[in-house]
């Protein structure tokens, strides 16, 4: 029932707008946004989310926006009620900094690995887990702790999203994904933790062109694929041999 839907258009914006509309995203939802800095950030999907208009969002992402584009633009547009992240404060996070100091956005700081593991737990049906990270610090205050095998652990709960917006390198015609280098970062985990997952890809390759041993995100986690190769001039030629089978778009 969650067969992957493909979106393409005359412009990247049209394709992304169609995917966001189909994702069912509404105000007040929790949105997982991929990327570590700009690597892996789904900028086209964030721009579409700004145009979409949903507000009062809780955004889960490693950072809280860089410069004035992407997440920073979503924050500047006043759409975000709360940010859950590991590292909001950066040299170019002036948009978040201003909103936070003005009391206009809430912040939950989570250690980076715990942030990833909490989403992994959500995708894997694990309700909560005992983790040594953060024990004895401000970030564990008020949390249940327990000694396991002689070591202190703190209980952390699963963190799920209503929608995940991620960037991958390639999709095949059925929604299997591969990533590029360290741009992989949070994408595969968020894809499993979002009730609906929307991905922007550099290109869609024919089904059969991805090595089944090398698929990182299996199609079951992918609901909407925005194919940027149909709209931009940035894509490179496929390096995998195309088959005669066309993407089932």
């Amino acid at each position: 029932m969650s067969r992957t839907q493909f979106h393409s258009g005359v412009t990247a914006a049209e394709a992304a707008d169609a995917a966001l509309a189909a994702s069912g995203i509404t105000s007040g939802m929790t949105v997982l946004v991929g990327g570590f800095g700009m690597a892996g950030m789904p900028v086209d999907l964030i721009d579409a989310l700004i145009r979409h208009g949903a507000d009062e969002l809780t955004v889960v992402s490693n950072n809280a926006g860089n410069g004035d584009t992407g997440l920073a633009a979503l924050l500047a547009a006043g759409r975000v009620r709360k940010v859950v992240c590991s590292f909001p404060r950066q040299h170019d996070s002036w948009v978040f900094d201003g909103l936070y100091r003005a009391g206009k956005v809430e912040l939950e700081v989570v250690p980076q690995g715990t942030l990833a593991e909490r989403m992994r737990a959500a995708g894997a049906g694990i309700g909560a887990f005992f983790c040594p990270t953060g024990v004895g610090t401000l970030l564990a205050e008020g949390k249940e702790t327990r000694v396991i095998d002689g070591r202190d652990h703190v209980l952390e709960t699963a963190l799920r999203g209503d929608v995940a917006l991620i960037k991958a390198h390639r999709s095949d015609g059925v929604g299997n994904l591969v990533y590029r280098k360290t741009a992989r970062n949070f994408g595969p985990v968020m894809a499993t933790a979002g009730a609906v997952t929307v991905v922007q890809v550099d290109e869609v390759v024919p089904t059969g062109a991805l090595d089944p041993e090398a698929v990182v995100t299996p199609r079951i986690y992918v609901d909407h694929v925005v194919d940027l190769s149909t709209t931009t001039g940035q894509t490179t030629a496929p390096t995998t041999a195309p088959t005669t089978e066309e993407p089932q778009a």
């Binding site: 969650s2 499993t192 041993e213």
Partner: protein, 226 residues
């Protein structure tokens, strides 16, 4: 439930009970197009042969593959490529492999739409018993049964309605050790299809018998749909 049971109960009185093959076909009929499905070992495996290729149903096997192809024959057989029943299978385009923790995360995380399992008993409230006879000398072996029972959005059970000794397998309360609590959506038998996902047991369809006849033979109250 992925397939709402709003249709009225249908009694097929002009024929006998379903054959095993017909049971598999009925299960396949009720799997929505595009579903991600895990077919358990044994009789549920036979459902695969009744899925229409154009329905786009995608098979998961818990030993680590999504998009599993049909059983392998002759030169296709590869000992490194099997289903959960350790039967050699094939790799169609669009398949993906993953390790066991990722495979069961996919299941436990609720990403599969349907899983089809056999059973010793199912209770009126959807409890499942299919892993252990409870016999004192039995060696317990659970495999992925509990993971499957708790993981898929819908759990379909395929079983005969009566055991060889004549006792009913749809029961008020399971007497065999449980595999999962309240996890079964539907029970497919040779004589009837039951919806056990709600507060009461609803008979959706019968073959070669009537709801009234079944009600007389079972200890669970039966209701009609629609």
């Amino acid at each position: 439930m992925s397939t709402p049971s709003t249709r009225s109960t249908v009694e097929h009185l002009d024929r006998g009970p379903l054959s095993r093959d017909e049971m598999a076909a009925v299960v396949a009929r009720d799997i929505p197009d595009g579903s991600f499905v895990n077919l358990g070992i044994g009789q549920p495996t036979s459902v695969a042969g009744h899925l229409r290729p154009e329905a786009g149903v995608v098979l998961h096997t818990e030993n680590g593959m999504l998009g599993m192809g049909p059983e392998a024959h002759g030169d296709e057989v590869d000992p490194d490529l099997t289903n959960a029943g350790k039967v050699p299978v094939t790799e169609p385009p669009g398949a993906a492999y993953f390790h066991h923790a990722d495979s069961f995360a996919m299941m436990r995380g609720g990403h599969l739409d349907v899983c089809v399992l056999g059973a010793f008993q199912v209770s009126a409230s959807g409890d499942l018993a299919n892993w252990h006879t409870g016999a004192p000398d039995a060696i317990p072996a659970v495999g992925g049964a509990m993971d499957l029972a708790n993981g898929a959005k819908d759990v379909f059970v395929m079983m005969t309605l009566f055991a060889k000794d004549g006792s009913a397998k749809l029961v008020p309360t399971c007497t065999y050790p449980l595999t999962g609590v309240g996890c079964v959506s539907r029970v497919y038998t040779e004589v009837a299809l039951f919806d056990v996902s709600g507060p009461e047991v609803v008979v959706l369809e019968t073959w070669g018998t009537s709801v009234d006849d079944l009600a007389a033979r079972l200890d669970v109250p039966l209701h009609r749909a629609g």
